[in-house]
Subunit: 136 residues, 2 copies
């Protein structure tokens, strides 16, 4: 079975270099815009400024053949399995970002705290659920 | 640009019918096994029973041409944009599941609270981060 992902938009950000991107959003990510494909805009109905959403991206500069990494790229730390890390390098480099919508202008959504670089493909947006945010 | 997703495993669950699957994990999902492709097992190093992880699946029975849905399939409720819901029907039907690992047997991981049906493809596993679970 082949599964092809559809790009539904792109990140527009002042971050243009991998090296400049903070490794996690709480490490100083700037504001950014999500620029959606006009065809999928009907699916964005009901989202409003102030909403927190889970943004899924495809980290297209990542390596897909990596199964073990040094945490945070620090070679003094022992290798770990990629699935126990948030490394972008992994078989399916899906980025998972919790962001707050701060403004909406048609197909353009401004968000706070996004660590993705300019041009990163967007693949999904979901509302935050209680089960995501509370320990069981 | 074509993006092809690699299936890294499958869900093994007593849930075999869409109709029987709870809509959210806190609505009575049973235990299930994640059965990984032996090739990616090195990437699972460092995961242990007791860990909570974010499991990403590809909901392969979903419709990809849907942009508006009645919440929870209830036609008495007004249509909403799919990106403001957790409907499986969306351009990229990626399932996002927070689960706890309860046992590991080689390439088989038993998890608690997974609402996916038997055979659902697995596409990624990530550790839960503080930024996922705390409000900003």
């Amino acid at each position: 079975m082949n599964i092809e992902v559809r790009i539904i938009g792109r990140v527009e950000s002042a971050l243009t270099e991998l090296a400049a991107a903070p490794r996690q959003a709480d490490e100083g990510a700037p504001g950014a815009w999500l620029v959606f494909d006009p065809e999928i805009v009907p699916g964005l109905m009901n989202l409003e400024p102030g909403d927190e959403v889970v943004l899924l991206t495809w980290l297209d500069r990542a390596r897909r053949d990596v199964l073990r990494v040094h945490p945070r790229g620090d070679t003094s730390r022992p290798l770990e399995g990629v699935f126990s890390t948030r490394s972008p390098h992994r078989p399916n480099p899906i980025g998972l970002h919790r962001v707050e919508i701060t403004a909406i202008d048609g197909a353009r959504f401004q968000v706070r705290n996004l660590e993705a670089i300019d041009g990163t493909p967007i693949v999904d947006v979901k509302p935050v659920l209680n089960e995501d945010v509370t320990a069981r």
